[in-house]
């Protein structure tokens, strides 16, 4: 009995080890979903659809997909001036949110992996730390 448990645990730990990367992405996305609820949802809305001509969408957003650093920068330092998303020009202002680098990474992992968005390369706290104004 004991040996069965040991071998199951052994298998499980190998499995966990293999999944470690996906796992940390998963927990980052989970934390990011809470950040999204606290800081983003009132403008970018539950399904990332934004508000027409006022707040750009995040779901299926070509800007988010193609401008990884620019997106991190906007969340980290705020966003001002013209921004073209899916062919629509937005000229709004998003204040700096006061998030930690980890929170920025978490919410980036959430918005790039939710709705129909997919992102294979996880955004890390380190990557966010490197992004300058």
């Amino acid at each position: 009995m004991k040996s069965i448990i040991v071998s199951i645990l052994g298998m499980a730990s190998i499995f966990v080890f293999q999944l470690k990367n996906q796992d940390s992405l998963k927990t980052s996305i989970e934390r990011g979903s809470q950040v999204y609820k606290d800081f983003c949802v009132s403008c970018h809305m539950t399904y990332g659809e934004g508000i027409k001509n006022v707040y750009p969408p995040l779901s299926k957003s070509d800007y988010l997909k193609n401008n990884r650093e620019g997106s991190i920068k906007a969340i980290k330092f705020g966003q001002k001036g013209k921004l073209v998303v899916n062919g629509v020009t937005y000229n709004g202002y998003m204040a700096p949110l006061g998030l930690t680098n980890r929170e920025v990474a978490d919410v980036m992992n959430y918005i790039t992996n939710t709705w129909s968005n997919k992102n294979k390369t996880m955004i890390t706290e380190k990557e966010v730390a490197k992004v300058k104004k």
Partner: protein
């Protein structure tokens, strides 16, 4: 597993589609005969959250990022001597208001998010100070809500005085909807009333109630970002953000419960309901509710002779739809709504200046003055 998820998602979406909301009783129209326009008076501001007018006509402006600006003779002067400001989410340096007897006592009141206290995070605080040589002096912390939280939402923060000289301010529910607003032993989700020196008036409604926060004047609020004394009746009018739908205008009465989140005309952001009821015994009905939400910020009631057709009308900034809303009220009911200056930008604040003109503060733009159109 994925199938189960998509199945659940479909059920949820169907359910949310079933939660129908009743739209506002009066719809906003675009005016066809507007005789006013706007003129930029203070350029290049980011989030001009609060403003007030000094006796010489110059303007004190708060930037949410934590800067206090004195705008005089077309020049911005940064005022030093602010306390440490907690800039996170909707928190930062927020409203500013001169004492009604500023000329004789020099007191300036302002609200901000503060980290003072043992817990991580911040909460809304009220301070008063005097302005001397571009510096704040004589700072006195009058109120600090507790506990701190790292949540980014709902600091409230508008400041107003009534005709008796009492100081009122709002603090939102701080993102803790189901715990704070209905509990008078806790801060947040409340309108507060203090004497102008920060002491608690003995006539406050919950003085003597065991455990109650004695500064509370009314409760059951979500996030009031507009507050003004009615120029005729002296009553305190507020508006507050709802979630998805259900923004409200309320007239504040002593000790009353305004119902959040037990009663509401709003839904969760994802369209699901959080309550089935919109009214309940012992809870106040709003004077008006907005569905869909306009995201109201800043509130003024016109009393000057510069806008004779607007006397007694409410002016409300819409963050979400980038216009100034004018509401005509007859017998305590909204009978007309108008969208003024559409596409101006996120409208954060509106106030009648000491010169009688109405000023509006727009995010990413600056402060505009409403003036008659030139023919």
């Amino acid at each position: 597993m994925t199938h189960i998820h998509s199945f659940l998602a479909i059920i949820l979406m169907t359910l949310s589609a079933c939660s129908q909301q009743t739209a506002s009783k009066v719809q906003a129209e675009t005016p066809t005969d507007l005789i006013y326009t706007i003129e930029l008076v203070v350029p290049d501001l980011e989030i001009p959250w609060g403003m007030d007018f000094l006796p010489d006509g110059s303007i004190l402006i708060t930037e949410k990022s934590g800067e206090l600006i004195h705008y005089r003779n077309n020049t911005k002067q940064t005022i030093s001597g602010l306390p440490d400001i907690y800039v996170r989410g909707q928190g930062g340096l927020l409203d500013i208001r001169l004492h009604p007897n500023y000329n004789s006592n020099g007191w300036i009141y302002f609200s901000f998010a503060s980290q003072e206290g043992p817990e991580e995070g911040g909460n809304t605080a009220i301070m008063r100070a005097k302005l001397n040589n571009n510096k704040l002096t004589d700072q006195e912390l009058l109120y600090k809500a507790e506990p701190n939280t790292t949540k980014g939402q709902h600091f409230g923060s508008r400041i107003e005085f009534d005709n008796e000289g009492y100081l009122y301010f709002s603090i939102g529910d701080r993102g803790n909807r189901d715990v704070n607003p209905q509990d008078i032993t806790r801060d947040c989700g409340k309108i507060y009333r203090l004497n102008d020196d920060g002491s608690i008036p003995s006539s406050n409604p919950f003085v003597g109630h065991s455990g109650a926060k004695q500064a509370i004047y009314s409760y059951g609020h979500r996030n009031p970002q507009g507050m003004v004394k009615h120029p005729e009746t002296g009553e305190i009018y507020i508006h507050e953000h709802g979630p998805k739908g259900g923004d409200e205008i309320n007239i504040i009465e002593k000790g009353k419960n305004y119902g959040w989140p037990v009663i509401s005309y709003g839904l969760n952001y994802d369209g699901t309901p959080f309550t089935d009821i919109t009214e309940k015994e012992g809870m106040e009905q709003p004077l008006f509710y907005w569905t869909p939400s306009i995201a109201p910020s800043g509130l003024s009631i016109v009393s000057s002779d510069k806008y004779p057709n607007w006397t007694g009308n409410l002016l409300v900034g819409s963050l979400k739809f980038s216009y100034l809303e004018r509401l005509v009220i007859e017998n305590n009911e909204v009978v007309k709504r108008e969208k003024l200056f559409e596409n101006t930008g996120r409208l954060r604040n509106v106030k009648q200046g000491s010169d009688g003109y109405i000023y509006i503060a727009v995010e990413g733009e600056g402060i505009y003055k409403i003036v008659p159109k030139q023919n």
